[in-house]
């Protein structure tokens, strides 16, 4: 415990670790929050395209200003990402090329242009350019407080916009057509939301790089989605997941050499997604599997109960015992023996030895109740005798009128 405490103390005392952790947390928080809208609007890959598209903007901003101030480069990235998003929209609206193809083209072509410009700048021999390529793959360890402040500033502006346009974005994410009929400027709001995704991308580029930035947009939001159906909770949870992934990724990568921060953060975020997919209440896969098993068990019990009951009735005695084979023949495909054992332990069926099985009086009653229930729902009657259901003697017209 002592060493863990020392380690946690490092966050407050070690400059690099503190800066990197803070930067990764801000990145996770902003991208989780803004990414929620991208995931809900089926634009998860837009983040991927925008992060690649930002590269030429970074280089051009440097060429034009000669400065590597984080805010300058971020503005360049923002402009290029935004142009890319606009191009995607234009081509999708005007041609028959599917959206994902356009995303792929913008992604790779912008990146190619960025690479050409980057190598061109590098070969111009200006000493000042070194460090531009951190934008390619991210170098969290190279973050300084100035970068973190810039990230916080740009990210904070994005969050402020979400707060201002919360109602509009909510409507746009779930029912854009309705938003349009209400007279919201849907086109403008679309552009604004896309801009916000670009903002999230720009905030994270320097830390995790263009390739992994897309994961930071998608993963926290996809994880958060599993836990809730409410937008406000999802957005907050996504921000939390993002910050958590950022923090744990940064801390784990500081444990040992050769554990780069960006990939660690992404793995942490993906782990959160895995946990959410498996264990979230309601939508979790494990819960769904357990529910399915329970349903199957219930159906098997009903089937065996009713088969035994039906066989027994032909003898005029509801508890009359039958061979296991006869029950099997009545309901093929059901694991009869296991179900009978379960029914016996509940006191609904009884083994008479030699594979002879019959219902107990309690079992007969249960079977009758079940059959009655099915009849009331019309499940087994409807297909063969459709007219019998509405006029069934069990429904007293007086009851209905009352």
């Amino acid at each position: 415990m002592d060493s863990l405490f020392d380690f946690l103390l490092l966050i407050f005392t070690d400059y690099t670790l503190r800066t990197v952790t803070l930067g990764a947390m801000i990145l996770g928080l902003v991208s989780g929050l803004l990414g929620s809208f991208a995931v809900l609007r089926k634009q998860s890959l837009l983040g991927d395209a925008m992060s690649h598209a930002a590269l030429p903007g970074v280089v051009i901003a440097f060429i034009l200003t000669g400065s590597k101030a984080p805010l300058v480069l971020m503005l360049g990235a923002l402009a290029a990402g935004w142009l890319g998003a606009l191009l995607v929209q234009l081509v999708v609206d005007q041609t028959r090329i599917p959206q994902d193809s356009v995303l792929g083209i913008v992604l790779a072509v912008f990146f190619g242009v960025g690479l050409v410009l980057l190598t061109w700048v590098q070969r111009q021999g200006s000493a000042n350019q070194s460090g531009l390529d951190t934008f390619l793959f991210g170098r969290a360890a190279a973050l300084v407080m100035r970068d973190v402040w810039a990230m916080a500033g740009v990210g904070g502006a994005g969050l402020l916009l979400v707060g201002l346009f919360w109602k509009e974005f909510k409507l746009l994410s779930f029912d854009p057509d309705f938003a349009a009929t209400l007279g919201f400027p849907v086109g403008l709001l679309n552009v604004l939301l896309t801009t916000l995704i670009v903002v999230a991308v720009v905030v994270g580029l320097q830390t995790v790089g263009v390739v992994l930035m897309s994961a930071m947009i998608v993963a926290p939001a996809a994880g958060a989605r599993q836990w809730t159906d409410r937008l406000d909770r999802m957005v907050l949870l996504a921000a939390l997941f993002g910050a958590l992934a950022g923090m744990s990724g940064a801390l784990i990568s500081s444990l040992s050499r050769g554990l780069p921060t960006g990939p660690m953060v992404v793995l942490c975020a993906s782990l959160l997604v895995g946990i959410s997919l498996l264990f979230a209440p309601n939508r979790g896969l494990v819960g769904a599997w357990l529910r399915q098993q329970r349903n199957h068990r219930q159906l098997r019990r009903s089937a065996v109960l009713e088969a035994l009951y039906g066989l027994a009735l032909s003898h005029g005695d509801a508890t009359h015992a039958h061979q296991l084979g006869a029950v099997r023949a009545a309901i093929p495909g059901v694991d009869v023996r296991r179900t009978l054992a379960a029914l016996e332990s509940d006191g609904l069926a009884r083994g008479h030895g030699g594979d002879l099985w019959g219902l107990t009086p309690a079992g007969a009653e249960e079977a009758q109740r079940e059959l009655h229930r099915f009849e009331r729902h019309g499940l087994d009657e409807l297909p063969t005798r459709p007219s019998s259901y509405p006029f069934s003697a069990e429904i007293d017209p007086a009851e209905v009128v009352k």
Binding site: Q94, L107, V109, W120, V218, M264
Partner: protein, 367 residues
Amino acid sequence: MSPQLEIQLVASIVAAACALPGVFLILRRMAMMSDAISHSILLGIAVGFFLVGHTGHPLLIALAAASGILTVSLVEMLINTRRVREDAAIGLVFPVLFSIGVILISRFAGDVHLDVDAVLLGELAFAPFNRMTVLGLHLPQGVWVMGSILFVNLLFIALFYKELKLATFDPALAAALGFSPVLLHYGLMSVVSITAVGAFDHVGSILVVALMIAPPASAYLLTHSLPRMLGLSLLFGVAAAIGGYWLARFLDANIAGAMASMTGVFFLLTLLLAPEQGLLARSRQRRRRRRRFAVEMLLVHLSRHENEPEAGTENSLAHLVEELKWQPNFAQAAVYNAQAEAFVQRQNGLLLLTEQGRQTAQRVLAR
């Protein structure tokens, strides 16, 4: 052969090999899958590298192709849980595999000849240094490797052309006829993976996407026929390769980046200029339709009032502006166009239908 020519040859073969499967990726709306595959092959390359120690080994290609297939199946598994949608599934899977690859490389391969930059960016300029002699021909290794991959791609498309076409345009019918769409899907994905693996040391895994998607997308704007689309894609790809090489030489910049930029230039040009679907052609069509409609509207209006007493006031240019709510310029242009087609004559300020104009108005009304 001079190194210059050899680089262009390798670049052209890479571009051609990428463009072929790209056509089907676009038509099947799976373009972003190529992005996912080309990133996650890094994992296979890293694992293979640790097993055999260098990058030229066939095992690397096999493992990298396997990680491409792994990506596809993981994405499909995620979609089938119905907890995330397709786009999010793709965006979740490949960063994980890529991250594991990066961590493996940076943790265990600190000072060997494998780094992430090389995989992501590639370097075509080195192509002539790595040579291989086959059948007495001493050529860059890239020519042989990518040449074989191009051959495999051609073979795949030639052998399964009919099935691919059917499964692409009518998957339900293909399934009903007994072609396995799943098998074809994985076949295509294997081809994409192998191509991405072969291409990465030349153009890098990100720009592979440009070579796979942009040339077929440009071709898609020019034609409706699949064979022509395949041919045009090859043409665009090779042109981008050669154009890119010279652009890079001119700027002294990364060749692969310049090739990707050229695919973008070609795409923008077709987007603007394509005869039917280009932006210019479409805006011209829109303008022509609007003009046509205005002329027809004018003729109908004139014919309605032709034999009425108010014809004198109704059929003046000024009245059109008032009743049809047209801008004066627009009304003038419509009248001018109608006169040019000899549908209308002007006589002391009044617009009179010609016989031809009257017939056209009748036809429009009967439509």
